[in-house]
Symmetry: C2
Subunit: 145 residues, 2 copies
């Protein structure tokens, strides 16, 4: 799992960097995974492989953009993170964000894909569609704990 | 472990990028860990968290610069990767490399720190000394499988 997520984070990062603005303003791309040590009654995400600056180590389900994607099992497309209630500012440079849950049958949310952008409105439905396809592919191809 | 290695890879990358040349020419910084699925008779490394371009997924102990650091349990400081027998060219841009093993009592090599530079002679004994201190610190502070 870690090996795949590490390479996918690199591919995502360099793919975004190769695109025209605003996509090339992406400043964080990577994964959080379900923390196997968190109790099912209070699940939390733990930082996985990424490219970008140092990030928060753990995020409770329901907290911020990542935690909301995990608890609702729905993609969060946030054009302005400052307007998102309870947004967690890991990197102050982030202005917009898209978070896609990776959901596995019988396991629920095992991970989330998180991409941040340094300008507002960095992501649209094209990002959503393709990141959701990526989430499905990654979900199928990793040995989740 | 993954959470710590992900953030340390980010810290290493951005620390090198903030230094004068040749250190700011670093083009890969991250970890390989002992593959728990590899047999003790034929141990191999598996890709862990990193910053940089997509990398080789697995490396047998003894192969290339990373595999040599793992099998000898000694830092490999390579001023010119093209002169290193059996060098594995993950990113063709890499011209020099330093690899430091993370060795744990009673477990042996659990991981290696790998940093590549896009110019020859990118690393010296200052890098070696501080990366070895980092390896000791990371070794002590992670829950290795």
């Amino acid at each position: 799992m870690v090996c795949n997520l590490s390479n996918v984070a690199a591919l995502l990062w360099h793919a975004y960097k190769s695109l025209p603005a605003p996509s090339n303003q992406v400043n964080w791309a990577g994964f959080y995974t379900l923390d196997p040590l968190s109790p099912p009654s209070r699940p939390q995400l733990i930082l996985g492989p990424f490219q970008g600056k140092v990030a928060c180590q753990t995020i409770a389900f329901g907290r911020g953009v990542c935690g909301s994607a995990a608890s609702t099992q729905k993609t969060q497309l946030v054009p302005d993170v400052d307007a998102f209630p309870g947004h967690i500012a890991c990197d102050g440079a982030s202005r917009s964000e898209v978070v896609v849950p990776i959901v596995i049958e019988n396991k629920g949310v095992v991970s989330i894909i998180d991409v941040d952008c340094a300008v507002p409105g960095g992501f649209d439905d094209v990002d959503r569609v393709w990141l959701e396809k990526l989430a499905e592919l990654v979900g199928k191809s990793c040995d989740w704990p």
